[in-house]
Symmetry: C2
Subunit: 164 residues, 2 copies
């Protein structure tokens, strides 16, 4: 059946083409990633995968994520809360650039796409200049605004007592 490879984007095909085997675990993990817009940690993914395929272990999740990151299919982010987050770089829901708003209090992460147009020109111009000046092969960039989200501002205000 030629239509069989009509999986969400061609992730499975890509994996095979590079000489890796397509397994139930890898497929499940790719599915989770393609269905989520959140930035999932390895454990988040493990919990979801494990729910639908209990045979799959955490180790496999880590190994698969490593593979996908190395293949450039998944991006890995460190937001400073001690666990890495992962995001699919392919498929319908994917975003090309990763510009985040991170709450330093509760680690809430917002991926904004507004205003990105304005940023990109400048960022790409600078990327080229840096690339030349420092002899870097730049493959990616990352912009993070750090601060407090609305909730944490509110709860801070509360715990600061009659602060005003």
């Amino acid at each position: 059946m030629p239509g069989e490879q009509s999986k969400p984007s061609d992730s499975s095909g890509k994996i095979k083409r590079v000489g890796h085997r397509m397994t139930a675990g890898r497929e499940a993990i790719l599915n989770i990633l393609s269905q989520s817009t959140e930035h999932l940690s390895a454990e988040d993914i493990y919990i979801k995968v494990h729910a639908e395929k209990p045979s799959i272990g955490l180790t496999t999740v880590y190994r698969t994520l490593e593979l996908l990151v190395n293949m450039g299919m998944v991006a890995r982010f460190d937001f400073g809360d001690g666990r890495a987050r992962f995001e699919l770089l392919q498929g319908p829901k994917c975003v090309k650039y990763h510009h985040h708003l991170v709450c330093t209090e509760c680690s809430r992460i917002i991926e904004y796409s507004d205003f990105i147009g304005e940023e990109l020109n400048i960022l790409e111009t600078i990327q080229e200049k840096l690339s030349k000046k420092y002899n870097f092969l730049i493959t990616n960039h990352l912009v993070q605004y750090c601060g407090l989200c609305a909730k944490c501002i509110a709860s801070k205000r509360g715990s600061d007592q009659a602060g005003g």
Copy 2:
């Protein structure tokens, strides 16, 4: 002696003013931080501090760094290699903005200050917009270009064998 507080920047004074005690360990750590332009990890700092004051332990380094970060005197970065890096935000050598070039292969970090002017306008404009739209209190931002440094490009080329 009134001239005694002429320490490099007024870090010690700042610590006391907030109600914390100035100790030998904290002073040593602040010294290390103010003397280095590198992005030091907790252990880097520990090794340097330990060399001049062997009584100071790694735990104290971590605790002091946490204090300084909370006081806003030190910035903490995660470059994805599993250990946090720290950088003084005060004193003569300090940089206001933290724009980095990170080698994903060897974790080499370059803090560039070129071209920053061009970026800042846009980044600050966007910061305000995001702040309003998402109700964030943004205190900081971070720009990272990721890729391969010159050395790692070269060594990749070598290990790829007759690749061209």
